[in-house]
Symmetry: C2
Subunit: 386 residues, 2 copies
């Protein structure tokens, strides 16, 4: 186990009928709030009304900033920062999934900075002050509700970059699994794939061979995410399934599994971000394409962890090489079973685009210090996604 510092200040309020708490929780942080949300689905399913009624009931002034898109855009973040400044915003309320929460974080950081917000993402500036954030989660996927990370797409440069700060942890996140009852099957699956990817990035990139506590925690989460995802695809209003999936997705990226792993990388996300930046595909759909190919590549370099994965997650019992090979194949089969794509062709991306994708990914590899990845290796992994 490696040395670590662990601090997660986010308060989680989890369960049914918790949304009406958002007003009270936010009122403790500021009176003028920016309400950030997405494309309007929360207006249809009643969540918007619940949140606004709670915020107004707590005596808060609301400035709206809806319209966040999947793969959220820098231009929309910049508009939100301008709006926050114009209105003297004191707190940001995010109602949505990872895209909305990440936009809220970028606004919260950008509004307090004396430079453009993209400087944070290019690694040129570090985050020193932010507006406080509260959150009502509507999608089990990104984990952004209990960490300080954020990912934004710069549509001018086609770069999807991620950065973060402990300051950006939401102060309070409300997780009501019933809010995800209406998430369609494809986005339910993509969310589960995203959560699995978060776990496996850590699991397979730690260089510490002795992290048994973290390993079993992560293996358990992968099993639970797969099981609960299958449950809710069968029965979208299965409360227990939605609750398990939601909490597991939060745990996948809230820092608890990573504590003690030392340096980890996000190579699958590094490559996938180029797919969603260039083709605006769903992040989870891109990940299920990249993951098996990356795992085959990585297993060639560091095989030991892969056989353990096959044994413990899928109960395999053959030779280490068999457990490795079959473990990766079984995960890929699971992606197929939940209708998440496993080839670039399914995403409509042609092989001739591989160099373009690799070049785009290299920009992020540099910022994220994934020094072992050059164009050739990324191309090789992309070729494995066919």
């Amino acid at each position: 186990m490696q040395n670590f510092v662990l601090q997660n200040p986010t308060t989680i309020i989890f369960g049914t009928d918790t949304v009406p708490g958002i007003g009270r929780e936010t009122a403790a942080l500021g009176r003028k709030v920016l309400l950030v949300y997405g494309q309007g689905s929360i207006r249809k399913n009643g969540i918007y009304d619940q949140v606004v009624s709670s915020l107004l009931g707590a005596g808060l002034d609301i400035v709206e900033h809806g319209g966040v898109q999947p793969n959220p855009l820098l231009s929309h973040v910049r508009a939100g920062i301008a709006r926050a400044r114009e209105n003297g915003i004191e707190a940001v309320v995010a109602v949505g999934g990872g895209s909305v929460i990440d936009s809220a974080k970028a606004i919260a950081a950008g509004a307090m900075a004396d430079h453009d917000v993209w400087q944070f993402f290019k690694g040129k500036k570090s985050i020193k002050r932010v507006l406080p954030i509260t959150c009502v989660l509507t999608l089990a996927a990104a984990g952004s509700e209990m960490n300080g990370g954020m990912v934004i797409t710069n549509e001018q440069t086609s770069h999807k970059f991620g950065t973060g700060s402990r300051l950006l942890n939401p102060r309070v996140s409300i997780l009501d699994p019933t809010l995800t009852y209406t998430v369609p099957a494809n986005y339910t699956a993509y969310g589960a794939v995203d959560a699995v990817a978060h776990i496996l990035e850590f699991y397979f990139t730690t260089r510490d061979p002795a992290t048994p506590v973290q390993d079993r925690f992560m293996e358990g989460l992968v099993i639970n995410i797969m099981e609960s995802c299958e449950k809710v695809l069968q029965q979208p209003r299965d409360y227990q399934g939605r609750a398990d999936l939601m909490w597991s997705a939060t745990l996948a990226l809230n820092g608890w599994t990573a504590a003690g792993l030392g340096m980890v990388g996000f190579p699958m996300h590094m490559i996938e971000h180029s797919l969603s930046a260039l083709y605006n595909i769903a992040h989870g759909a891109g990940l299920s394409v990249i993951m098996p190919a990356w795992m085959r590549y990585q297993a060639g370099l560091h095989p030991a962890k892969f056989s353990q994965f096959g044994q413990r997650v899928f109960g395999l019992t053959g030779s280490p090489a068999q457990c490795t090979r079959e473990g990766i194949e079984l995960l890929r089969s699971w992606f197929v079973r939940v209708n998440s794509p496993v080839t670039l062709a399914e995403l409509g991306i042609e092989a001739e685009d591989n160099p373009l994708i690799a070049d785009n990914a290299l920009a992020l590899a540099k910022i994220w210090r994934l020094k072992n990845y050059d164009k050739e290796i990324i191309m090789q992994i992309l070729q494995g996604c066919r």
Copy 2:
């Protein structure tokens, strides 16, 4: 999964060479500090010197309050409260295991109260203000370093009661596994038993049949605690083993596993507290005696979870009844293997004392609202400890 609120404000600084950070971390909270520690082992092994040098280096004024005993005593806590008040103490630094940290918490709460500290433990008063606490952990066992709980023995009434508050979470806890290299074999094992008991109290007393995320997390922890304990009993200076055991013991009772379980009880602790209050035995030693008997009792009432325990923790494959029976027996055998006692006779406690023990335990059963436990049931469990 049940609704829950989760908030754990403790910052964990984990790993080698972390003790010198105690001065800097404490200086952020106050200048006049009460240094609480135990029977002087920290003077022999150099930890005391390291801590004092760091505190002085950070410009802090130190008032000492050493001499905490295992099964820490109310009288010593009261003396600490008086000392804190006399000296205008602003923060409490605990250097030790659960007994020391719990004493520090009781002092931190009592010093800010306008009534006697025991009122908290009798459930007559709730904790509203506390002095901030920092901690250097020297024993993998109680989990007190990352929660708000505390257990104190009132030697006048022979009651060992526990209570707590989120306010009592240490602000910062420093966990350096090398500090536990010199913990003797018996206390290493008792610490592991205590951590296993914390997990199993939750695991077997939740009434929610659908807590898959928490179940796998807890099962993994039990396996890790057993494995790492055996490792360090073989080789006391095995860093990875000490680190795994230390972190697992913290995770066993920091609220992460319990989130979503709903109401849980501490019936094994309820009975054990009477053993350590009446006979001043080591808490872990008492728990390994009580645990198998309580598990047999509980398995008769709620069998389902017990077969899962046998299957997942010990890899059993027989009928549910077999997995239940053998799972309990295998855990008991593990206690024997690490030389933790499994009968009251080994503790020198006679069968004729059972009514006395049961009466003592009932006092705590009442405060902890363990309504299903009457004298007869406690006696029945005690009879199973032979």
